[in-house]
Symmetry: C2
Subunit: 312 residues, 2 copies
């Protein structure tokens, strides 16, 4: 960063031989978070959600801009806690906060984060790079953040036994740790091509996007989905006691979804911690067929922020 | 732009020898705009406010990201009109829309725009570059947007006689047209140094920022402020019939405030359309002394978005 907060704009100097990757992500109180979750967590998870988009492009963080909407009566200590959570998440990612804007809002807090990342020239990882026969895989467990949301709705967010679900909801980890591995696999000297996107809205909504962008259909085996531990899921009641469905529907896990040729999948499996869940094939673009325990359940659609609030 | 909307992030390739300039600007319904002003204007002025920050850094537009908060009941035709106004303003600026994010919001529309610009390496124009003895100048008339706001509050926004004030409020022009001139004046072969910022919050609030950043005091002659035509101001009632005060307090004019040595001011005056309003001098950093018709009026403070809504 050449010039940080305080002028009309920040100034940065991208290193030679790089493209810049640029994304924006919004978090609205009552839609994406509730303030009783804790301001520090609100700041940390907003940063994670935004930085996850950089990981999904194979990019290293370059800088972040904060736009914050604040009701006039917001307590200064809330702002301090928010800043601490945001700052911790950015420090962990090696991402400088280069500026921002704070605006009065009559009703509720909202956070809009814009992030810049750097990727070697021409090496951004796109979701339209899938090919027929590619293995579909994910980089870690799914559905835990949805369990955390269920715990929050039930007023049980801070129960000790639900720590894993709470952590997934409040302190998600953007998979920036995988960027060096992705660079090695797909760089100028690497073996090949990957289609990558991050799982922010859940497999049920995100996988059709990758398939559609690649012009392909997808097949998913519900038995292979890495869902939450059954005992943890069951502890939140019968409505959540279905790990494959949780893994399929759950959003905000911020793991990566990857499509790779079978041979590249074998090379990438250990370094990326991949779990194979299905395959891409020729067919109606964007259509997903569920096999195994999820087959024949037509209502398995993902979470829609336009349809319901997490705290409602 | 290498990759536009539809992936996890946009990808851009900054040309060699350039720095990137990066800013974010927010517009909240009921704070910065009212929907009865017209959705097309809401889109256009949001773009202008954001692009103005690039002009103030001497940067050319490189791309824009849109984050939009929409109440569930928002009519699709409103969105179309908003997009048309935004698109027109971006096309006029030669700035591509490279992506964005649309989020449900329970109460009101908000627009957060993030813009990237390009500036020759090391040539960004900063507000901390003022020196003692610099001439302070502005690039055009001030106070017209404030008159437009007064017209809107009085329910007279669309009166034909108020066209100039209405246009200033609804269709402000970011001074990107001046960027080539600024480049010529301050580039590697140019004669010198300029401190520049844009006037978004009004001289009363913005000038102390430039002075403070430069570690200097400022003196402004109220008689030289390029305020609105007295007849236009008077037509909005006695509360607005004071052109120097309007020019001093008015926000959202998006002209540039410039500090230049007397010799550079003489060279820049015609090509930038400068009007001299005062000078920088040694003194308490950020302190502004008003001379002429505004002298001795201690309550001349600028508009504060945290203190009042334009439509209230």
């Amino acid at each position: 960063m050449l010039l940080g907060p305080g002028d009309d704009a920040a100034v940065l100097r991208p290193p030679a031989g790089h493209d810049v990757v640029w994304t924006v992500d919004d978090q609205v109180e009552g839609v994406h978070f509730e303030r009783h979750w804790g301001w520090e967590h609100v700041g940390a998870r907003a940063a994670a959600a935004c930085l996850s988009d950089l990981a999904a492009m194979g990019a290293r963080p370059f800088g972040l801009l904060l736009a914050l909407h604040l009701p006039p009566a917001t307590d200064g200590s809330c702002l301090d806690a928010f800043g601490r959570g945001l700052g911790d998440a950015l420090a962990a990612a090696g991402c400088p906060l280069v500026g921002g804007n704070v605006t009065r809002h009559p009703e509720r807090v909202a956070v809009s984060l814009s992030a810049l990342g750097l990727v070697a020239r021409g090496r951004a990882l796109r979701r339209d790079a899938g090919r027929p026969g590619d293995v579909l895989a994910v980089t870690g467990p799914l559905g835990l953040a949805r369990l955390g949301l269920a715990a929050a709705r039930a007023g049980r967010l801070f129960e000790p036994a639900l720590e894993r679900a709470r952590h997934a909801l409040l302190r998600p980890r953007p998979r920036l740790d995988l960027v060096p591995v992705l660079e090695a696999l797909t760089g100028a000297d690497g073996p090949g091509r990957l289609a990558v996107m991050d799982l922010s809205d859940g497999l049920a909504r995100d996988l059709p996007r990758l398939a559609l962008a690649s012009g392909l259909a997808a097949v998913v085996d519900g038995a292979r989905l890495p869902g939450p531990p059954p005992a943890l899921a069951a502890s939140l009641g019968p409505g959540e006691a279905d790990p494959p469905a949780l893994a399929w529907l759950g959003g905000e896990d911020y793991e990566l979804l990857v499509a790779a040729s079978p041979s590249l999948f074998e090379r990438a499996r250990a370094p990326l911690g991949l779990v194979a869940i299905g395959r891409l094939e020729a067919g109606v673009p964007g259509r997903v067929t569920l096999e195994g325990p999820l087959a024949g359940r037509p209502h398995l659609v993902g979470f829609d922020h336009f349809a319901g609030a997490p705290g409602a």
